[in-house]
Every structure is written in C-alpha cells, then in structure tokens.
Symmetry: C4
Subunit: 372 residues, 4 copies
C-alpha cells in the first residue's frame, strides 16, 4: 500500500517533472550559442533525463508481473504483454530515443532532437490516453468517411485553382502540387496570405473552398464531440456502478434501481478532517459513505457513521438548514447526490426515498430528544 | 423589499455603467495627447470610478450579514466568507487595483492600466459567472486531457518544423522556441502569415498541423458544449421545481409527476396590465399562476384567478380560438405550458389532463350560461 | 385556393427573383463607369424594383385581414398588427429604403446603397426567420453570458497587448484602441497578419488569446447548436401531431400512443402520378394516407385507398419484396414510417402493430385469392 | 461466394489504387518539364487508367442484373437503374472524363485535367457516400435557412464595407464586387490579409463580420453534427436488429425486448484462429454467436459452441477472471455485449439475465465436475 502510494506519486509528479526538464533543456539548447557554457549544461541535463527514463523502463519491465498471482513461468509473458501495450511502447520509445538516434544520426545536436518523443510521456501518465484511443476507435468509420470527402475536395480545389490561376501567378500556381499548398491553407481557413488567388474565377473558387472547409470540419467536430460524450458517459457509468454496488444500503435493490442511482450520483474522495457541512448552512447535497468514516457533531457525544450509512438527507427532505456539523474523521470515499438528482430519484424510485425519509424522521426525533 | 429592488437595480444598471465609464476613460487616455486638457478629465474619471468602487466594496463588506438570522458573533464570519467568495475577490480586486498599482508602479499612467481588472465586474453582476465555473469544474478532467494532447502536438510540431526549416529560414525557424511561434499561430488556424514554411517537408508538416489543430479544437468544442448543455438543464430543472411545487394544483401529485411537469414548463414574470391573450385569437399556450392575479373578461363581471389556478386550457383542449380576453391585474409569476409540451404531458400523465379537462368543461358550461 | 397557390408561388419564386435583380443592379452599378450606358440601365432596374416592392407593401397592407372572420372595425387592427410584425417591418423597410435615402442623402448613387435592406426579403420569404428568432430567444441568457465573457477577454487582451508592445511597435500598438484591432482579429482567429506582436511577452499573450478565442466560440457553437436542435424537434413534433391526429386509424388511441407515433413518422407531400413503389422491389417504408388517394395495382381491378388507410406494411412485416405496385392518383399527404422506426414502434406499442398485422394478413389472403 | 469476395477486394483495394495512380500521374504531369521523358510516362499512366475505368464501367453495366431473380426483359431496366443511380453516374463520369474532354478541349494537357472527377471514385467505394447524402437530405431545410442568413450577412457586409472604405482604399474597396472578396475572406475567418480595412468604421464593421461569421458557422456545425449523429444511430439500429433477430436465444422475445438489446450490442467479425480471451485474464465482455463456431478449451475435450450460443458470461456475472480460454474455430460473426451495457440490460430486462445466469450456473457446476 505504502509503496503503491509512492509509485503513484512518482508517476503523477516526479516523472512529468523530469520529462519537462529534459524537453526544456533540448528545446533551449537549439537557441543558445553552441560554444557557451550553457550548451554543455543543457546537454548534460538531456543525457541525465535519458538515463533516468532508461532506468525507469527497465524497472517497469522488471516489476510488471507484481501484484498478480501467477507462476514464475508466465511472469515473462506478462512482461511481454507490457512491452506490446501502448504504455510499454511509449516507455520503450522514451528509453531508446537518444541512444538509437545517437547511433544513426552523425551530428549529436541533431540526434538530440529525437527526444521530443518524451512528450508522449505526458499522455502516458494522464488517464486520458485510453479514453482518446477508445473515442478514435468508436468514431473511426465516420471520421474515415469525412477524411475521404476532405481529400476529394482538396484534390478538386487544387486542380481547379491551378487551371484558373496558372497564367496570372505562374510562380505560385504553376503546377497542381504548388496549388495544393494554397488549397490546404484555405480549406482549413488558416489563410497565411502568402498565396492568394487574383483572378475572378480563382476568387469564386476560393470562397467555395472556404465554406466547404468549414462544412467538412463542422462534420468532423460533430462526430468527435458525439463519440467523446458517449465514451465519457460509459466510463462514468462503469466507475459509479462499482462504487454504488459497495454501499450496503443499495445492495438489496435490483439491477434496474442500481442503474438509475448510478446515473444520478458522482464519486468524491475526501481527506480526513474535511468539514462536509456546518450546522445552519443551507444544504443541497446528501452523501452515501462507500468507505471511511464521518462524525456527526450532535448531542453530548458525536455520532460516528461508517461505510453504508448516509448523511445530509434532512436538508434535502425538509428544505431546512443543516441540523448538525459533519466532519470526515478518516479518508473517505463518498457518493454525492445533489438536490436536482435527488428529486429525479424521488420521481423514479419513490420506495428508496421512503427508506431515506424513514431514517431521517428517526434521526430527527433522536435530535429532538437531545435538545429536550 | 423596496430596498432589495433598489439594490438589484444598482447592481444591474448603475454599477456596470460606472465600470464602463471608468474603463472607457482609461482606454481613451492611452490614445489622447498627455498634455491636452482631455487627459486630465479622463484621469479624473478613472479616479472617481476607483473611489466609487472602493466605497461599494466597503458597503458590501458591511451589509454582507444582512438578511440572515445570525448572532452578532458570526456576522464577522459571514463577512469573511464574502471576502473569500469569487464575488468578494472580484470586488476587492476592483477596489484595490488603482491604489495598489499606484504604490508599486512609478509612472501613474502605467499604474492606471491595472484598472482593467474592473472588467471582471461585468461577469460578477451577470448571473452567468457561477454557471461558467460549474461548467469548467464539470468538464475539467476531459479539458485537461485535451490540453495535454494539444501541448504534445504543439511541442512535436515546433521541433519538427525547426528541423525542416532551419536552413531555409534561419531568421524565423532558427531555434525550437522561434518555431513555437509558428506552431501556435498555425495550430489555432489563425495564420498571420508572418512565418510560413517554404520547404516541401515543412509544408507537409504544416498541412498536418492545421488539420490536427482543428481536430483538437473540435474535441474542445464538443466537451464544453456538452458540459454547458447539461449544466443549463440542471439549473432550469431546479428553478422550475421550486415554482411547480408552489402551485396547489400540483401539490398532491407524487414526485415522479412533478419531475415530468418540471421538464415541460418554463417560468415567466408578467407585469400588471399585460394582456395574456385576446378573445378570438389563436391559442397555443396555457398558464398556471404561481403568484399574482389575472382577470378573465367574460360574462357580466370579470372573474379573478389567483395562485394555484390555471387559464388558457380551452384553446389547447378544443383547438378553438380563445374564448375570453385575459388580463394580468397584479404582477404575476406564471408557469407556461405550450401546446407541444401539453401534448407530451397528455401522453405521460393522462390523469392530470383529465382534471384540467374536467375544469375546462365546467368552465365552458358556465360560459354558455353567460351567453344564454 | 387557386389564388392562395398563386400567392405562394409569387412569394417563393417571383419576389426573390425581383429582389435579386434589384440587388444585382445596385451592386454592379458601383463597378461600372458612371458615364457609360450601363449605368443608366442599372439605375432603371433599381428604381423599377423599388416600385414593385412599394406596390407589394401596399397590397399586403390591404389584404392583411383576408381569410379571417372579423368585423370591418377590427380589419384596421389586423393591418396594424401586420405592420408591427417582423414580416411587416421588413416589407416596410424594403418599400421605404430608396425614397427615404433619396430624401436625406444628397448624392443619388450613395442613396441607392441603402437598398441593401432588400436582402432581408430573402429571410422573410424563407420559413426559417421565425425559427431563428425563437432559437435566439431560447438561448438568449446563455449567449449573453458568453458575449460578456468574450468582451472581458477582449478588453483585457487589448490592454495587456498595449502594455507589452507599445515600445516595440508604437505605430500599431501605440494606444489601447489600436491594440483592440489586433485583439479582435486574433480572438476570432481571423489573423490578417497586418498587426503581429513582436516581443516575447506579446507572443505569449497572443498564444493565450488565440486559445481563449477558440474556447469562447466553442461555447457559442455549443449553445446555438443545442438551442437549434431543441427548437427543430419542437417544431417537427407540433407539425406531425396535427397530421397524425387526422388519420382515423390513430384517432381512437390515447395521447401517449399518439406522442410515440408522432416522434417516429415524418410527413411527405406527393404529386399525383408518383409511383410509391413497384412490385418486386425491396421495401423499407410504409405509408399512412392523411389526405389524397393511392391506387394498389393488384388483381383484376386496382384497389383505391383513401385518407386513413395505410399501405406498404407487408414488406415491413414479412420482409418480402413489394407484392404490388402502388401509384398516387390524387395529390396526397402521406405519413412515412420507415423500417427502423417501425421496429421501435413495435417495441413500444405492440397492440398497434397487431392491428396492422391483422390487416396485412387479411390483404395477403385476398391477394392469394386473386392469384389462385 | 468466391467471386463476390474477389469483387469486394477489387472494389476496396485495386480500384482505389488504380485511381490514385492515375490522379498522381495527372497531378505530377503539371509539374514536370513537358519535353522530358517523364512527361510521356505520366501521360501513358493517365491513359492506361482511363482505359481501365472505361472497361470497369462497361463490365458494371453488364453485370448489374446479376444476383437478382428477374426475367431477361427487366435486365435492361436494372441496367438503366444502375446508370441513373449515384454510383452509376460516378462510374460514367470516370469513364467518359478523358474521352469527352479530349473531344472538346483543343490542348491535350488541359483536357487531361478533367480526370480529377476520378476522385469521386474514392467516395463511391467508401460506404459513407449514401450516409452523407442522407445527412444532407435530413438537414436540408435548416442548412438552407442558415445559408440564406449567411448570404444576407455577406451582401450587407460587402455593401457597408464599400461605403466605409472606398475613399481610403479605392484599389481594394472601389466597388461592391471588390468588397465581396474581403467579406468572404473575413466571414469565414480565413483572413488572408491581402485586403484589410483601414478606417475606424471599416474596422468596427470587420469585428462584427468576424463574430457573425463564427456564429453562422457555429449554427452550421451544430445542424450538421446533429443530423449526422441521428443518421448514424438509425443505421446502427437497423444493422444490429437484423443480427439480433438471427440469434435463436433472442427469437422468442417480443419486439420491445429486441429493441432494447439492439441498442446495447455491437457486431464484430472474427477470423478463424482468433483467441477471444484467455483463462485467468480479467473479462468485461460477453459474446453471442450469430454464425460460425468457437471452442471453449475446458475439461478433457474442448466444447464447441455454435450459432445461438453465448460465451464469456461468467466473468460478467461473478466478476471473476475468465475460467477458460476460448478460441474461434470458424470465421464467426459475434454480437458483443460489454459490461456497462450488460448492466443496463440487467436493469431493463431482468428476465433475460436470469436465463443467462441459469446457464452460467449450470456451466460452472459442469466445470467443477471436470476439476474434481
């Protein structure tokens, strides 16, 4: 556990910092005087980073089988799986970038440019890499169609522009390949302005190309956005399901009810010592405790609530201010249900709300007893 | 009540106007001759605005606890809460911008530029600030992933462009940091045209960078748009729920029915004297009265309808023209149900429509009696 | 009826053509030599168009009350309503553009430029004007927030750019108003390239401004797109409801069932003589007849189907090829149910499909009798 | 079957390659020295491609009626249908481009440019052509409205820009048609920078035009994206329905249940020899076999599963690792149900999951027997 925490910390903070240092050194080295002292320092930083990443790669190969119950024979198979995974490939590219480039590129300063592949480490340690790959796969058919259409428009525009402009501007439109530079700059609405049609027909074509470009990229945007939204929904659904299924309060419900709840809550990690809410404050959320412990500061002696309990329901049910201050006493994982979703849940699963209401009334009576 | 109205008026109209005046003076002052009389007038306007905003800030600190039932001890806590809130921070920045800048910046005309933070007041008084913050929080994970991908593409494009173009255009692509300027201008498809690749490989890279830029920003657009739409839906749901729950006609319905209705109506504030609809006009909306009073101009003596009543249902039910003119006689808050949503409601909650239909038939018979 | 058809034809084809002629004449007149004969011809065309539009305006005022059952007194009120409606305002602007401009602008050729307001006639005769207005109203709160944010970013970017670049490029960034030109060109990613930051800090700011611009417009796009989609859905729902409610076959269903059907069909106008489908072809749609008549070419004598009947269901139910050719014998309005939606309907309303299936089997047996 | 496979292979790989070769030759020919040997080779390649495409066209006309049960008389009708279809038109254009151009264009090198229509062959062989046409049809009304608005803004901007800038820059804004070039470049935010307003009013107009341009294209993007998403959903629904209906396990369910399942599974073609999953791996998908055969490597003798069986359900139900390795032994078509959708299905159709659970428990007991 200890070691797992340390590793996550290294992955999230230390390695990106090391990579950033190495990349910054490489980038700055292209700007400094090669004879100055700075040059040597920067090259040293790049080589040091390369050494760290190579070491990291070897450690990762070694520890890949850890935490899996497997016989020693299949340990090497797990290592091979790691090497063939996207993560393994990025790590390998990072470790081998400088040595391989050094071998094949005569000039060291040129070889050093190849460490730009270290930038892939940023997406490797972000959780988003897998998500983006899934999005691309989900939308691949539609994206491919749009790219084909884009390519057809691009070829057509280049050829027609060459036809219209070749005599007016032979330098810039003297062949179809030259006209292609104009076409891509216009089709993406980048519009550098270094190549601009001058003839009437060339300008009519240009107007049409600009509008087509926007239409094509609007299609592109729509497809990616749709695929992204669906993929996010799917991921959140899976993550929340696992958490909801851990709460005893929900366990004797059918799958249909759990599916409803899953779409209405979201998870939150809370550090020990956090004040969830204070007595007297306005309240618009309730909490289910997945793991950890919270303390309700009411009556002579604070009341402890643990995994499976819920808290904060009274403000939602009776619309009143918070009746007690609640403090998190151990690092906790909570499911948060806000008032909008609470009301939707009340619509879809009245029986659930009845149970919460029963508990809330029991608690309110207990509170009155304390106050009396 | 009186004073609350005056305050809202100051927040919505007076303060934005003051801020606009101060900002305009500061902006124009950079364009006028520093020795002309205009300069002194503009500086005076800026200082006057700064004084008003500082006064406003102190008043707001003082009145922060108003309207809350709290003991005098916690009044200061409420003030501290205000200061730590986004609203408080914007007010503080507005009040302190000029004095602090004056203290640390030697030249007054430079110090004056810092009053640009007053522009934040525009979003402070708009209700949208909180909404935008919630949208950003909701989408933060996805936006962070996309920004990481953008950064990786940006670094890669800069390095490769440097490699391809450094010999052809040493002035513009002579180091990676210089190539970065080209990369950001191209990746966002801004395309100033001051830096343009000249080599074949540089242009192939540029085409790829433009297309990548559009793909990355399409992702961005999709994520923001999705998060915004969901957040808006959530806010409308909450606001309408509170209003629907106030209408007696709906109060003995279960939460499920209320949730259905909430998604189908929208709220409208109507001033006294407004004609909701005229006799004989075509009608496609009905109204539930949350608060206020309307008068149905039918029969010998107009009939008054109050909170909890509804009006306009006959045109929806029988498809006929409006059978009476209806005028708002006191400032009213109405829930509007248009014909498309009425029909959806008829599908989901037939029992509700039956009650409305019963009332409508009762009224129609009464009307006939009047006419007879 | 005759006259209504002629009027629709004038609105859809004749008037846009007249407007296009007038606008083209005005536009070309700015390009021709004022002393050539062409000039006089073009001016004549503009004046002729103005005359036609003024006549049209007066006719429209006169005929506004037509087709409404009202007493002569309120006829003038209907005319006033027309004048105050968006359509009336556009017509008035079109009729008065040239005369008013002539009155107040000394030079006729300048006055003539004002006829550009005729372009509004294009949206007046398109059915989309009302739709766009509703979309703008629906999204107005969100759009206003985004525009405020845009304005704050714009002001901030201009001031900071002025601060960074004023010494390096006093000509282009010498005051905040001048820097504003750069800011708007960059924030919209237009990037003319006439004003480009040169300092390091100016370029860092520019990168941030470009990315902000895209983020702001992504918000904008998302909001508009959402509002547009919802508005379209609402309009289609209303239009289809009215048609579905006319089909006898659906009339004894409850509102819930009708709401389901409405979301699954779409309407299509079909001219007399159209072949809906041919015998032996693969079929993936069925048709409900709202009005008109179709003829099923089967057996010794074609069978006529009229309003309330349906046709084409066999190919959907039994997956076979079309068993008869069906021809439209009178101009008809049909509701089309395609196979994907038919299957969804089968899921939601099995009882409805049972009725269709019963009728289909009855027909199939009848066909067998013919063939035998 | 054999021949169908070969034809699909020609359509997907050979013809696009031939077209790419021909287009590349035409494009490169505009860049080479017309007196060099390369010129003759490239022209030969173009003519060869034209010959192949003409042959392909004639073969397609001939084989069009194949695979349909029709009498010889209607074979020619099928051929005519093919010629009038989008596919037929593209093929005809491809076959006739060079010969017709040769006939009417005096210079062969100019005639050759017309072979750019071959690029349409890329979309002809992609499955996306039909999809894009359907999207355009579905959104045509909304797109037409937006284009009208765009056109009105474009005309207005050109006229006003001419009015503001004509004296300052008579070369660039000397007539409305000239100002149109500036307007289209600005409205699409391309911003070449060759024409830039210089006056204060011209720049204010430009700022407004840029913002309008983005708003118009945001509308455009939203409409296209919506239509595309709906069309894709419809297509997937239809394709999956046909597959689900083939699985015996689902056949005695009602249409409502099938509609639910259809929206939750997706189809996958799997080659013989593929390992679906390995024993001991974590599992998050189950598979229904539409056609083909898989082998479960458990117990003394592998167990064969065929069309209608399912596999992989245990990992989903009991959350355990895969209990057996499963290999595909014949080319198979599988329906994949992943864990997120499995849980949704459990919510909507508990009876179905019960059947799967019963089978899973039976299998688990059988496995225990093997292990014992």
């Amino acid at each position: 556990m200890e070691s797992a925490g340390r590793r996550a910390w290294i992955d999230t903070f230390v390695l990106p910092l090391v990579v950033t240092g190495g990349l910054a050194a490489m980038i700055l080295d292209t700007a400094v005087n090669p004879d100055s002292g700075w040059d040597q320092i920067l090259i040293a930083v790049v080589i040091a980073t390369a050494t760290i990443l190579a070491t990291e790669f070897m450690v990762r190969i070694w520890v890949a089988p850890e935490g899996r119950v497997i016989d020693s024979d299949s340990a090497w198979r797990v290592r091979a799986d790691y090497l063939a995974s996207p993560h393994g490939l990025i790590d390998a590219a990072g470790a081998l970038a400088l040595p391989l480039a050094w071998l094949y590129v005569p000039e060291y300063r040129d070889a050093q440019l190849f460490v730009i592949v270290w930038a892939l480490k940023y997406v490797r340690h972000s959780t988003g890499l897998l998500l983006l790959i899934r999005v691309a796969l989900r939308a691949r058919a539609a994206l491919f169609t749009v790219m084909t259409v884009f390519f057809v428009v691009f070829l057509g525009a280049s050829t027609v522009a060459y036809f219209f402009e070749r005599h007016a501007q032979p330098e810039l439109f003297g062949s179809v390949p030259r006209a292609m530079w104009w076409a891509i700059v216009t089709l993406t609405t980048t519009g550098y302005g270094d190549v601009v049609p001058k003839t009437l027909w060339g300008r009519l074509l240009a107007g049409w190309v600009m509008v087509s470009g926007i239409a094509v990229f609007a299609l592109w945007a729509g497809i990616i956005a749709n695929a992204f939204a669906e993929e996010l929904r799917r991921r959140d659904f899976l993550r929340n399901w696992d958490l909801v299924a851990q709460v005893p309060f929900f366990q004797n419900l059918g799958a249909a009810a759990i599916a409803d709840i899953v779409s209405l809550v979201h998870a939150r990690d809370v550090a020990s010592g956090t004040v969830l809410f204070r007595r007297g404050a306005a309240g618009d959320t309730m909490y289910f405790i997945v793991s950890g412990e919270v303390s309700v500061e009411i009556g002579p002696k604070p009341q402890k609530l643990q995994a499976g309990d819920f808290v904060g329901e009274m403000a939602l049910l009776f619309g009143a201010a918070r009746s007690a201050t609640v403090v998190v006493t151990r690092p906790s994982l909570l499911l948060v249900l806000d008032i909008a979703n609470f009301r939707e849940l009340a619509g879809r699963r009245p029986e659930l709300i009845n149970v919460i209401e029963g508990e809330a009334e029991r608690r309110r009576d207990a509170n009155r007893a304390f106050s009396a």
